[in-house]
């Protein structure tokens, strides 16, 4: 179920604005990869190119290739809708559908993809996804209540349950804990560690301890100067990045002397 991602010479643009320059990297399956870096250096932008969500923004485009198990996402004839079904995404702010109940939220993606499902199969799937997101015990008695009535941390886990319910190959998370309290953050971090047994997980975080705690590999993005495109400065095992970085900029950022 988990797949490997190869990015080759990827340039990312918003209209004429060159946001991220020349990224080449390999993301291993069944691992957690974290992206760190100062605000505005293009972490979110890069993450969104991995499931073709970048192009949702008018004028946004990319140049280069992203291969998932050797298949180029940006090859001619590839439907972005299919890509997004393989590569799930969790956003910075929890965004359950406000008009749907907890259960409907979990099943929202499945309902889009496979038209029909028996009531029993739906119940089982919802339970499996909610258990997978460590949320089942908290919501099992109020599955028909609105998803927007949960706490922020619970909403974010609901969004993770929604993403894993469609059984993607890869899960992308853009600062999934930045809107959450420390306890909820811990719950999500535990969950991320669990998820890597089944999925390729890519996470953006501004919290370096978090990157150190949960990830196997870490990529450091940086800007040379404002107005310049962001770049992938260094990409290595999390151990190396935090203890023994090759680049001076990485070391400065890690040690808090920068950004």
């Amino acid at each position: 179920m988990s797949k490997r991602i190869d990015v080759n010479d990827l340039d990312i643009y918003y209209g004429d604005f060159h946001a991220v320059k020349d990224v080449t990297m390999t993301i291993e399956p069944r691992s957690v990869t974290a992206f760190i870096g100062p605000s505005g250096c293009g972490k979110s932008t890069f993450l969104r190119t991995l499931n073709r969500m970048h192009e949702v923004i008018p004028g946004a485009r990319v140049d280069g290739e992203v291969l998932i198990d050797g298949q180029n996402l940006y090859a001619k004839g590839v439907d972005p809708v299919d890509v997004r079904r393989q590569v799930g995404m969790v956003f910075q702010r929890p965004n359950p559908f406000p008009t749907m109940s907890i259960k409907e939220n979990v099943l929202a993606g499945v309902r889009l993809n496979s038209k029909r499902m028996s009531g029993k199969a739906a119940d089982e799937l919802a339970e499996r996804a909610l258990r997978g997101a460590n949320l089942w015990n908290e919501v099992k008695d109020r599955l028909d209540k609105p998803g927007a009535g949960l706490s922020g941390g619970q909403q974010q886990r609901l969004c993770i349950a929604r993403a894993i319910a469609i059984q993607p190959e890869v899960i992308l998370m853009d600062e999934p804990c930045s809107a959450l309290d420390p306890i909820s953050t811990l719950a999500i971090e535990d969950l991320i560690s669990d998820l890597k047994t089944d999925y390729t997980v890519v996470i953006v975080t501004h919290n370096m301890q978090q990157a150190a705690r949960v990830s196997d590999k870490t990529g450091f993005f940086n800007l040379k100067a404002t107005g310049q495109p962001g770049e992938l400065v260094e990409y290595d095992s999390t151990q190396t990045i935090f203890n023994n970085p090759r680049e001076k900029a990485t070391e400065d950022y890690i040690s808090g002397r920068f950004g």
């Binding site: 997004r84 079904r85 956003f91 702010r93 406000p98 929202a108 889009l112 609105p146």
Partner: protein, 315 residues
């Protein structure tokens, strides 16, 4: 959005809350306006009731039609409600479609121009709609009505086609065109308000554009669409001139494609100038009935919207 309680920055509890002059001014101004609205409404209701009383209490054979006020007014009620509902049913899907096109499909420029043109439609006086409906549109519908009579004539609604096309159906279609801008404008605004967070949530789950609209945009906009539809329905219920000009009124019939039927506002507009005495009272009583219908429609709409309030996303 959750209404976050403002951070507690309390004075010692003995201190009285400070009433700032600005707050005081705005709260009395808004309470005043609300009171004026309610008083006006109550005044209108009382006026209608007093003026209507002679018709409501008159012996049955003195009222137009000779069957009492109820006998006089119910065909008008049916005509009004049928015309407005048909207009609403025709206009709402088109309006929602246009609103979606403008808000989510059309390139920005094109969307704005289309929105502008639709808004212009709202500025056309209803007499113009009436004249156009009677002289231009009605004759063009005659072949359609003839086809309906020939092929669906077994349905009482399509029993007998008019030769002039000046029917309740034509009036309803023109009403639909007239209320289209209201429903479109309101729907477009709420669709544009859809949080991109929800749209992206749907897209990231592998929704196609249409699926994204179905899962994120439409549910979010539904209360607004219902509100716009009710505004439109209100306009259709109260429209006088267009119906009075287009429709060839007459006795009540279920046949929508022939002459006959009338609506309360058109009946009032047509006959008010010559009315005196009991006839005048009849017309005002009919106006009272329309007032009650409109009130009921609004309460019903409110109830529909409130029923799903828990899921509105506005909690």
């Amino acid at each position: 959005m959750t209404a976050t309680p403002t951070p507690a920055r309390r004075q010692p509890s003995s201190a009285k809350p400070v009433r700032r002059p600005g707050d005081l001014f705005f709260s009395s101004a808004s309470i005043g306006s609300a009171t004026i609205i309610l008083l006006t409404l109550a005044g209108v209701a009382v006026f209608l009731l007093i003026e209507a009383l002679p018709a409501l209490t008159a012996p049955a054979d003195e009222v137009s039609g000779g069957a009492g006020f109820a006998g006089y007014v119910w065909p008008l009620v049916v005509g009004t409600v049928v015309a407005s509902l048909v207009a609403m049913v025709l206009a709402t899907p088109v309006a929602v479609g246009i609103a979606l096109f403008v808000s989510h499909y059309a390139p920005r420029r094109l969307g704005q121009s289309i929105g502008f043109v639709i808004d212009l439609l709202a500025a056309v006086p209803s007499v113009v709609f009436g004249m156009w409906g009677m002289s231009v549109f009605a004759p063009r519908l005659v072949p359609l009505y003839e086809w309906l009579e020939q092929n669906l004539g077994f349905i009482p609604l399509f029993a007998d086609a008019s030769t002039s096309g000046r029917t309740l159906m034509t009036a309803s279609i023109v009403l639909a065109v007239m209320i289209l801008p209201i429903i479109t404008a309101v729907s477009r605004e709420v669709f544009l308000q859809t949080p991109s967070l929800h749209e992206e949530a749907a897209l990231a789950l592998g929704a196609t554009k249409w699926e994204m609209i179905r899962t994120a945009v439409l549910p979010f906009g539904m209360p607004g669409v219902i509100g716009g539809t009710m505004l439109g329905l209100g306009r259709a219920l109260g429209e006088t001139m267009a119906v009075a000009i287009i429709l060839s009124p007459g006795i009540f019939t279920w046949n929508l494609i022939g002459s006959g039927n009338n609506t309360i506002p058109a009946e009032i507009a047509l006959n008010f100038p010559e009315a005196a005495g009991l006839r005048l009272s009849e017309l005002i009583a009919a106006g009272l009935v329309l007032f009650v219908i409109t009130l009921a429609v609004n309460l019903f709409a409110r109830w529909i919207v409130d029923r799903r309030a828990e899921f509105s996303g506005a909690n």
